[in-house]
Symmetry: C2
Subunit: 120 residues, 2 copies
DNA sequence: CCATTAATTCGAATATACATGAATTATGGA
DNA sequence: TCCATAATTCATGTATATTCGAATTAATGG
């Protein structure tokens, strides 16, 4: 993955509505969700949603298939994996054993408690 | 992790200079890098870098310690893990076996080839 | 062919993020 | 105390992103 692709993905997700769309699609899994269903469930105007789906799609984070009058959207999990791989590339100066334990704890299951806040 | 924290982290990383800073710190590992070294290695003006470090720090992605006249910065790997956990929460509608194989392939080692481009 | 539904595109007004130069704070040494 | 170095803060002009209403394209059924 190129840096420019990574920034496109991160920018796409760094948005109040788009992160909801992506997470909803992640939750929906391989069955996907139509644009109309997304607009209704998330209370987003169709044209605004369309713009945001375009941005997610351009970043490769979602895919879509036309289905009659509707368009069905799907999360692209592999794109997420590529993004994280880029961010963590050559982690810990060639001593991956230092951070691999963190990565191994990533799971789809309900989140374990995390320590996000800086202490200064 | 709250949605607002996730957006702060994604916004922080979605920037040409800040993603370089974060990746350099990830690569540096527990030894960290001083602000001055970051500015020199990445050719960023000190005041611009300081602003960007503030943004990364506010998002919890980096931490810092004063060291004499310098300030040493470190990547917060656990924050990255929390971010990904949030994005992947309740993946595949409660059937994590569908996406866990992707997550298990995340590694610090040199990146495996990925398929980022949408095919439409 | 016309009407309806689904989704997208377009143009414009507004808000936000960004880099920069100048000024400021903090630390250490002479 | 004075000076130099390291880093940060501040004010500002510019560029970019976001949303919205209106118009447009696509598919289906009568």
């Amino acid at each position: 993955m190129e840096k420019t692709d990574a920034i496109a993905s991160l920018s796409a997700l760094a948005h109040d509505a788009r992160i909801d769309v992506f997470r909803l699609l992640v939750n929906a899994g391989p069955e996907g969700v139509t644009a109309g269903q997304l607009a209704e469930r998330l209370s987003i105007r169709p044209n605004t949603l369309s713009n945001n789906l375009n941005i997610l799609s351009g970043a490769g984070l979602v895919r879509s298939l036309r289905e009659g009058r509707s368009v069905r959207y799907f999360a692209n999990i592999d794109a997420m994996r590529g993004l994280l791989a880029f961010l963590m590339e050559d982690c810990c100066g060639g001593r991956p054993e230092l951070c691999q334990p963190f990565l191994d704890r990533i799971t789809c299951a309900p989140t374990a408690p995390t320590d996000m806040e800086p202490d200064q």
